[in-house]
Every structure is written in C-alpha cells, then in structure tokens.
C-alpha cells in the first residue's frame, strides 16, 4: 500500500496517527492533542447539545413535592439550550474542517514520501504556513470575532422566527417549541398582525422613497448653488452647511424633538408670534410624518452635498462653455450637463441610501418613538418603520419570534436593493476580472 493512502487512513481514524506514521512527531502530537480534545467533546457533550437544539427542552420549571415541602425545580431553559446547541454545531463544523485538514496533510506528506521527496521539519512547516497561508493567519482573529459576535447571533435570531418564543411563552417558566413557518403565516393571515404589517410596510417604503429623494435633491441643489462661479467664500458656506453632518445625530435628533414640541418648542412659538396657529408637529399622524422627513432632510442633505461636491469638481469646464456657445441658459446647463453627470456618478449611492433609509432607526426612535399611537395597530404607531416596530416587539413586548420574522423581511428587502446596486458598480465588475 502506498504511504499516502496508509497515512490518510490512519489520520482519518485518529488525528495525528498518520503524521506519526510519516515520522512527523511534533506535528503528530499537536494534531493528536487537538483531535482527541475534539473527539472527547463529540462523544461526551455534542449529542446532548444537539438534542437540546432539536427538542428545545423537555421539562419546564415546576413545583415538586419533596417530603412535606413543595420546591421549585428548575426545568430546561429553551433559549440557553438553543444557543448552546448552535455553538456546539459551530464547534462541530470547525472540528470537521480540522479533521479534513489533518487527513489532507497526512496524505500529502505520505505522497511526498512515496515520491522520496524530503519532508519538512516542524519548524519548516510553520514557516511554510506563514508564507503560503498568510492571508488565513491574518484573518483568523477577525474571523473568530465576526463568527461569535455577529454571525452566531444572527443565526440565532433567524432561528427564533421559527419558534413560538413570544410573550407569554417565555423561559424558564415555559418551554419554547419549533413552529416552522407558523409565525410567517400568522403575520399574513391573522388580522391583528397583517393589518399592522401591511400598514407599517407601506409607510416604510414611502418613507424610504421620500427620505432618499428629498435628501438627494436637496444635497445636489445646494452643492450646485455653492459651486456657482459667482459665489464667494465657498469654503465657508460648505463648512457651515456641513455642521448637521458633524453633530452626533443622537443629540441633534433629541434636540429637534424638543424644537418641534407642540406647546413649548421654538418653532411653534415663532409661528404663534407671527399670528399663525402652531402645528401639531409630533402628535398629529400626518404632521408627525412630515416632521420626521424634515428632520431627516436636515441630517441627510449634507452627506449628498459632500458627494455631489466631489462630482462637480470633476466636470470639465469646457462642457459648460460648449453649452454656452449653443446659447444655453443657467437652468438648461444644469439640466443638460450638471444633472446627468451627477446622476451618473451617484446612482449606485442613491440605491444604497434607499436601502439604508429602510433602516433609519434613530430618526424615528428619537424624534417620535413611532408615535402617535395607532389604535388599529398591534404595538405600533403611525410613524413606526419596520425596524422600530421590530425593536418595540422584541424589547418592550417580548414578542421575539415576530420580531425575528420582521427582521427577515427587512433583510430580504434591503438585500434585494443592495445586491442589485452592488452588481452595477464598477468595482464589482473589476473584481470579476481579477478572480
């Protein structure tokens, strides 16, 4: 039997054996140690964790009579079992990868021995790894961080959408169960949920369109205004108008909420001072929507302005001169030269901003907190976006499973727009050429 097959087989049975067979003692020892730890874990812990993930617990907390006393006996905690199960699943995945690598290594070294090539010493192997797989080494730490702090929680949240983890079914008093697509069905067919879902979804889309268009047009117009040759102190104006972008938006939004206060806010007092009635900025459903859009314009216009500035400086002067020769007026020049150039350069951002606006949590949460309350809605108000509704459902109402369903819906929406725009960018196409 060729040495490569033998070594691979030995390593497949017990990690490290193939390396011993190849007379790589130190490497074999490392593999053996990692491997046996992994196998120990699989044999003793893994099945329990995976079982927990599937059943989500079998015994709820209950009162048990011990002699004359009744005692509370702690039952299974479905949510902890789910997380443990997920981590175990990930660990199994890592172990499988390690095991495959171990077999592959034994096979390759075995093959080298069959061909009577020299074998690397342990030190050489390490150096070789540092040279050939530098990218993997560098990526290892960020990889672990992202897997445990971002990916794992996200998978967990996605899983929640398929359980009945919602008030009143809260562990440890109750056990959570898998319900498949039940929550999705409820969201569509159950009246209390579907009317809220439809209403909030519609407003979210309207909001995203208006918020994107207003900030975009506003930003481009202001940039063009400052860019005119006749305007003096361009830098000063630019700096003054960039201020809203620089102030942390958590603060400016809280400030704006007070400015728009119906009774005491300065905006209404000025309106009253000139003899107009104040507007119910934050308490009337329609005006509340107007208010959040205005606040969003104030925050968002500077961003587009900065981007548009970048584009405007790249438009060659002779294009305008050519237009002037043809007798074009200011507006005509703007329409035929400026706008197409700016649109062309910023179109991908427009779509990204639209996708981003679907998730404008801060603007809504800090300005109106979704209010005014809509009595026809399930835990949502007139200005609530899907994303703020999700937040309320999860953190105020403990409706975790429904919150997760909405999270998935938001993701599907945002992903569609982002992927669509990403595929249109130059860098993606260039990427393809490299790969």
């Amino acid at each position: 039997m060729p040495k490569k097959i033998g070594a691979a087989l030995l390593s497949a049975v017990i990690p490290g054996l193939g390396q011993f067979y190849n007379r790589q003692w130190l490497k074999g020892l490392v593999f053996l140690l990692v491997g046996s730890a992994g196998i120990y874990f699989i044999v003793y812990d893994l099945t329990g964790y995976l079982r927990g993930l599937i059943t989500l617990g079998e015994f709820p907390s209950r009162m048990v009579k011990v002699g004359k006393l009744t005692r509370m006996v702690e039952g299974d905690h479905s949510i902890f079992m789910m997380i443990d199960g997920l981590i175990a699943l990930l660990a199994l995945l890592f172990y499988t990868a390690f095991h495959v690598l171990n077999i592959r290594d034994a096979f390759l070294v075995g093959a080298a021995r069959d061909g009577r090539w020299t074998i690397h010493s342990f030190g050489e192997s390490l150096r070789h790894m540092g040279r050939r797989n530098f990218a993997y080494l560098v990526l290892a730490i960020p990889f672990v961080a992202v897997v445990f702090l971002t990916i794992l929680p996200l998978i967990f949240s996605v899983f929640l959408a398929f359980t009945n983890y919602a008030d009143p079914i809260l562990p440890p008093a109750h056990l959570v169960d898998w319900v498949g697509f039940g929550n999705f069905k409820k969201m569509i067919s159950l009246d209390v949920w579907s009317s809220t879902f439809g209403g909030v979804l519609t407003w979210t889309l309207i909001w995203a369109v208006i918020a994107t268009v207003t900030t975009y047009i506003g930003g481009v117009l202001i940039a063009v205004l400052i860019h005119q040759p006749r305007v003096r102190c361009k830098k000063l104006w630019r700096t003054l108008l960039i201020v809203p972008f620089a102030i942390p938006n958590m603060i400016s939004l809280l400030v704006m909420r007070n400015m728009f206060n119906n009774q005491f806010g300065p905006i209404n007092s000025y309106l009253r001072a000139v003899g107009l009635d104040g507007v119910a900025w934050l308490t009337d459903p329609f005006w509340a929507k107007v208010t959040v859009i205005l606040a969003n314009m104030w925050i968002g216009i500077p961003v587009t302005m900065i981007l548009a500035f970048g584009v405007l400086t790249t438009i060659p002067r002779d294009m305008y001169e050519a237009a002037e020769v043809d007798g074009a007026g200011a507006f005509y020049k703007f329409r035929m030269v400026t706008l197409p150039m700016v649109l062309f350069a910023t179109a991908p951002i427009l779509i990204m901003q639209f996708a981003g606006n679907i998730n404008s949590f801060n603007v809504i949460y800090l300005m109106t907190n979704g209010e005014p309350v809509n009595p026809n809605y399930q835990y949502a108000g007139h200005t609530d976006l899907l994303v703020t509704w999700l937040y309320k459902l999860a953190l105020n109402q403990s409706q975790y499973s429904f919150a997760s369903v909405i999270g998935i819906v938001i993701f599907l929406m945002v992903a569609t727009f982002s992927i669509w725009s990403y595929r249109r960018t130059r860098s993606y196409k260039e990427e393809d050429m490299i790969a």
Partner: protein, 278 residues
C-alpha cells in the same frame, strides 16, 4: 435690464439663499447652546438669546449627575473599541484586498450580507450570549461588540482604499527580501494613514453616540455611557430637566463636531471612496 445688473442680482440672490440655508443648518445647534445658558429648567423661553447667562447647568451637571463618570466610561469604551476595531479592520481589509485565497469571494459576499441585516436584530441574541458569559453590565462587552461590528461596517471602504495602493510597491519590497509581515507593517500601514484616520474616527464616533445597545447592556448608573445617560435624562423626566440636558448635549457634541469639521477632508475622501465601491 443690463446683463451686468442681472448678474449682480443673481449673485445677491444666491448669497441670500445661502444665508437662509446656513441659518437653518445652524439653528438647532445655536438653540441648544443658548438653552444651556438659560436660567430655569424648562424648554419654554420667549427669546432665543437668554436675558441672563448662567453656567449653573454646567455646574449642576458635574455636581448632581454622574456626568464625569459617564464621560470616563465613554472615553474608555470608545478608545478601546477604536484601537481594537481599527486593528481588526486593518487585518481583514488588507488580507481581502491583497491576497487571493480560497474562499475570498465567499468572505466578501458574507460581509456584504451581514451589512444588510438590521443591526440590532442580533441584539437579543448578543444579550442572551453576554448573559450566559456573565458579561452583562460590563464595558468589555461593548468593546467586543463595537470592534467586531466595526469590521463589518467599514471593511469595504478600507478594502477599496488598499486596492488603490499600487502593487508594485510591495513587489519591490519583496524583491529586496521583505516578509509578508514586514511589507504589511512598514509599507502598507504608513500608506494607509488617511483611511485609518477615517475608519478610527467613524468607530470612535459610533461608540460615542450609540445608545441602543449600550442601554441594553449597561444596567447601573455607574456604568452608563454619555449617550445612555443623556438619553435617559431627556427621555424619562419628560423634559423637566431640559436645560441640564442642553448643557450635557453641548459638552458631548462640541468636541465631536469640532473634530469632524477639523478632519473634514479625510471624511470627504472616505465618503467618496466608500461611494465609488457602491
């Protein structure tokens, strides 16, 4: 009308418009600064500029609230997250930009997808996770979450930046026998200063103003950060302490705002770089 006159009118028009716009742009900031110097504690005032200027709210802020502790907490979390986050970001974006390895395309796709999930959809899970690890109410939890989040939000901008550094620079160094590590440390890092400034500023600022996640993790008044403290101040007491909030807001916003305006150039570059990648 003479063309010269129309030109002059147009110039005046443009400048008037800019004055109005600047006024709108600066008004909230101006109003909150003025409010912070106002006597009393209410939102209501009949004039924009207070009749009597007072520093009492700033004094109260330090004497009656835990503002100083919150400030130190925020600084601690922000500095640590910025250091760790920038480091992780640098590693990730460099490897993705410069090396062609198996699974690179998949990594890019995963990072793109992760960007699209609503940020706090994972929050409940992180909360449970931190709870099991006993990390609730700890600043380290925030640091870990912020810095790993920083990778995802900034990796495309950073990668885009590395892509623009010509490959010939490294090749030359490699010819002279420099190792991967050496190339990374002595060529790539010095060249990426503008990007590093941009990214670390974004991370720092993110930690400074995040209140949703911080509010969830930090359970006691002593561990709160500024954003959480201020948010609670204006949220729970229903604006009865408005001027106190105003003073607190000014103290938080002023340094950040000045820093942003000062570093405008980097921000603009970063924003445009981020934009062209889509």
């Amino acid at each position: 009308m003479k063309p010269k006159l129309t030109e002059a009118i147009k110039t005046i028009e443009s400048h008037l418009l800019l004055i109005v716009l600047s006024f709108i742009s600066l008004f909230p900031a101006f109003w909150i600064i003025m409010s912070s110097f106002k006597t009393g504690n209410s939102l209501f005032s009949d004039s924009l500029i207070p009749k009597h200027f007072t520093f009492i709210h700033y004094k109260e802020l330090f004497e009656q609230t835990k503002y100083l502790i919150w400030f130190m907490n925020t600084l601690k979390v922000a500095v640590l997250s910025t250091l760790l986050g920038t480091f992780l970001l640098l590693l990730t974006s460099y490897a993705i930009s410069r090396y062609r390895f198996k699974g690179r395309k998949a990594t890019l796709t995963v990072l793109l997808v992760l960007q699209m999930f609503p940020g706090f959809m994972a929050m409940i899970a992180v909360y449970v996770l931190l709870n099991t690890l006993g990390l609730l109410n700890s600043h380290w939890a925030l640091v870990l979450v912020y810095s790993s989040g920083a990778i995802i939000t900034n990796v495309f901008v950073a990668k885009g930046f590395f892509d623009t550094i010509p490959k010939s620079l490294e090749d030359a160094a490699r010819m002279d026998g420099a190792s991967h590590m050496k190339v990374f440390l002595s060529i790539m890092i010095p060249l990426s200063k503008p990007m590093l400034t941009y990214a670390s500023l974004m991370i720092f600022n993110g930690c400074f103003v995040d209140f949703i996640f911080a509010d969830l993790v930090l359970r006691t008044e002593e561990t709160r950060t500024l954003a959480v403290g201020l948010f609670r101040m204006v949220n729970q007491s229903n604006s009865t302490e408005f001027t106190l909030f105003a003073a607190g807001a000014v103290l938080v916003a002023l340094p950040v705002t000045l820093l942003f305006i000062f570093l405008q150039r980097f921000l603009v570059d970063g924003l445009t770089a981020g934009a062209s990648k889509g």
